[in-house]
Symmetry: C2
Subunit: 310 residues, 2 copies
């Protein structure tokens, strides 16, 4: 059994490759919910949906999120009304949010709703929200003010410097049903190439998660989200620097060193290997850019093989 | 100035006719919000929307509600997910609910949101929710159990007998901004041919409304929603009988007699005129079926002329 710690697009792509290698039923994905937001009263779970749509084979591969062949009737009409449309929700995507919000209002947990949606979408791996409790990532902007994560990420296009991040609710959140058990039982725990701060960070902030990871450190293997010092998508590189870290795979290794035994870094960063190992991690060098599902499958093989290496 | 007390479809059609006669700016519509509901977290105001879409010239005339040339992408996708789709929300209609819900969440009142939407849709008359406070019509079914109004009306297709109606929240609601002032100042107060129990009832249940109507009884003229003892649309006829009344225009007159001076009844019910007058109302007989906007305009003329009659 493989358990993956997941953000959105990068994680989804790695999981799609991994499903080819070990099969969906062998994979459990623990997914970030700090990005969740309420739009017009609808509960939107961007990372869960990105992973779900990708594994269902329905994602818009160009964008990396949302559904392929989507229509935008609702957003266009909302735009005509002068409503806020900076967070674009496609018509069929809206159905997912309507379903989720309705079930949550009826008393279902996010874990239950996620399982229902995954069944409807024919998703093979098991997707577990890191918690059923409300966690909300809040970004402190360097120029002042706290904004909800999606305001930073989408509305402000993550183009403004940040000075702090916090995960409201995480510290008192209970891990989602099955999360700790899956981590305990996993043969391999894979940390996906997601933003260390705002995608993996909220998972680590839920009480109990870090304890298991520390105890199982030798079974934890990560994939660095940085290639040549840059994030392929999103603000991970700038964010790491703005928060006092270093936008390199070695910097990522130092952040994870306490609870991760092995880090896979891109061939472009092979020169970082000594620094990764100096941080106390085994370092594996492999192509990490997942331009195609096949590339993702090969990366998955490298990740899974890394723990059985010399 | 004409002030109309409104439910949904029947009211919307009369108002469309009245706008032709006196012009939009001379009309203020006080609209029922007891039918309002939350679907998937979205605030839906069926009567406000029916009136708004009709006056914007955008209503689906066949159905009487919703937008013409509507698409149903979201509902179809929700249906595929096994979600509840008994309350069908069209794609462009959903944009209205998204806008409203977002603005309400941001602290706007329903009155303010309604004004914004009406401006966007180019609606001439002023639409006032009867209250900005939450009012919810609850239907007690004869076979037991209380259900929210839309469950009775849409999900159960108003095909089950009722034994009671109540308007939760109405008794402690504050009249919407401008409602009492408009009623005080109106040259004519028109009670639209809406369901007396569940469309007009919630308006009367808001403290202050009935007082003004009683005081201005001679300026209040209603249009009976019954033709030949039957409601043209909806369950008004059965509901009146089930709640111990009578499904005739005379029955409607008796229910309104305390605060209405004149009732317009359909030519098919001319024989009811003596009973209407016995209830203490002046009775005007006119064609009340509004198959076309022109028919609605002629009815409006008859309604407005009725107060200046002999």
């Amino acid at each position: 059994m493989v358990v993956a710690l997941c953000g959105g697009v990068g994680a989804a792509r790695l999981l799609r490759g991994m499903e080819q290698v070990v099969g969906g039923p062998s994979i459990t994905a623990v997914v970030n919910t700090g990005d969740d937001t309420e739009l017009f009263g609808l509960h939107v779970s961007p990372d869960l949906d990105t992973v779900m749509y990708t594994l269902a084979g329905l994602v818009d591969d160009e964008r990396g999120w949302g559904l392929a062949n989507e229509t935008w009737t609702v957003m266009d009409a909302l735009d005509a009304l002068g409503g806020p449309t900076w967070f674009r929700l496609g018509d069929r995507d809206l159905a997912t949010h309507c379903y989720r919000t309705g079930r949550l209002a009826a008393g279902a947990t996010l874990s239950e709703v996620t399982a229902e949606l995954c069944r409807s979408f024919g998703v093979g791996p098991t997707l577990l929200p890191v918690s059923d409790d409300r966690i909300r990532t809040v970004v402190t902007l360097r120029d002042g003010g706290d904004v909800p994560f999606q305001d930073y990420f989408v509305r402000l296009r993550h183009a403004v410097p940040v000075s702090g991040i916090r995960f409201d609710g995480a510290g008192s959140a209970t891990p989602g049903q099955g999360v700790l058990g899956a981590l305990e039982a996993a043969a391999t725990i894979v940390v996906c190439p997601s933003n260390p701060v705002v995608s993996i960070g909220p998972l680590l902030a839920v009480p109990g998660v870090l304890d298991v990871l520390r105890r199982r450190r030798d079974r934890v293997v990560g994939v660095s989200p940085l290639v040549g010092g840059a994030a392929l998508k999103g603000p991970a590189d700038r964010m790491l620097v703005e928060l006092g870290g270093e936008a390199t795979s070695a910097g990522v290794a130092r952040g994870y060193a306490d609870w991760m035994g092995t880090l896979v870094i891109d061939t472009a960063d092979a020169g970082d290997a000594p620094s990764v190992e100096a941080a106390g991690l085994r370092c594996v060098v492999a192509p990490t850019v997942m331009r195609t599902p096949d590339a993702a499958a090969r990366l998955s093989e490298a990740v899974l093989a890394s723990l059985d290496g010399p």
